[in-house]
Symmetry: C2
Subunit: 232 residues, 2 copies
């Protein structure tokens, strides 16, 4: 039996709460980060609060083992005087959408092996993919995630804008978007690259630029240039 104290009421905390509900060997309590006066003891205290609040919230906690859930923060952002760890789930969480935890990579960092085994046991009780990731690696993953999630989604937005302007349903692009994302499971992104930039097809590139607004042109040009450069 593992006892968990979950601090926070946001997106990540809510999804973790729901996941823990269905696990037999976990007892857990969830509290708001604003009510830290008399908190219950627990084997693992999980702080799922905004990055800026981690230091202050953790400084008030006396429990033996405190972890945060942030991809951007180092383990030393925790200011409790007891043991520290990180329990980072690398996935995009939306309030409205159910999360399949079997598909969520758990990136774990601790100060010693015993704590690692405990966090690993916790992760295994709700998920399957577990990685040992230190603070430097986690920061790199976090910025890589901005490229493959935030920026990619913005390219989808531009695709959607173009469709709207030329009166074509965006859904026509959905199968391509899905295939692009799945293709790199079997092919490296280098090998999967196609299109006018990698072929240096100047005529098509010119035709494309003619269809775009200034903002879109800037992004088209810089990414085209970067693709060309990537050819070894």
């Amino acid at each position: 039996m593992i006892s968990i104290l979950l601090v926070g009421k946001g997106n990540v905390a809510t999804h973790l709460h729901n996941a823990f509900l269905s696990v037999d060997n976990i007892v857990f309590t969830q509290i708001s980060s604003r009510k830290l006066e008399h908190i219950p003891k627990a084997d693992i205290t999980i702080i799922a609060v905004s990055d800026d609040a981690i230091a202050e919230v953790s400084s008030k906690i006396k429990n033996t083992f405190v972890v945060h859930t942030s991809g951007a923060c180092s383990i030393n952002e925790l200011k409790n005087t007891t043991k520290k760890g990180v329990f980072y789930m690398l996935q995009t969480f939306s309030k409205e959408k159910k999360v399949d935890f079997n598909e969520v990579p758990f990136c774990i960092e601790t100060e010693n092996d015993k704590d690692y085994k405990l966090l690993e046991e916790l992760a295994k009780s709700i998920g399957k993919k577990i990685y040992n990731v230190n603070s430097k690696q986690r920061k790199a993953l976090h910025v890589a995630a901005v490229f493959v999630n935030n920026f990619t989604n913005h390219l989808y937005k531009i695709g959607n804008d173009i469709c709207k302007e030329y009166n074509v349903p965006f859904e026509v692009l959905q199968p391509l978007i899905k295939e692009t994302a799945l293709k790199i499971r079997t092919l490296s992104p280098e090998k999967a690259q196609t299109g006018p930039a990698i072929r240096n097809d100047k005529k098509t590139i010119k035709n494309h630029l003619d269809l775009l607004n200034k903002e879109q042109q800037k992004i088209y040009k810089i990414l085209t240039k970067s693709i060309k450069k990537s050819i070894k």
Copy 2:
């Protein structure tokens, strides 16, 4: 029964060939674009050659109905003197990977309704998603596809480069990549946008830039700026 003449031996032609093989009411012949002297008659002649070759190849064909398969070319790129059409499949085709034609959007353009019905019947015999798309719309789709496929794949490459540099397996990012692509089936890209740019989280943006090389920084900055601008 529909008779098809397929001109070309490339990627698209090969996948079409394989799809037609399993359809009972299609008889088809495939020939190379270099052997156009004595070509067989057919209800539909499909030219699946490179964009630059469409004009020349089509000018040599006397069959009654000739279509090309290019997203970037107008219907008038065809130089046959008989009827014209376009049979564009908006998907990324790799030689090594089998295509699920039920997931391929067929974008059809013709000069009249009767021809449209014939191309529609052909598309329905191998697929399910059929769209009536004119030359202007198709060009817009083609450039939108560059954003959601070519450029997105390049962002995956950058994510992969960062992982390599910091010694983390790229597979940790795969679930996020998949979820990002599928999320926009239920949420618009505007609503799905998350991350430091949309939150204007300057501290995280600065930390991210510190981890990147110059080339990556340029792309990070321009996309972050564009996301900020997109907030209405």
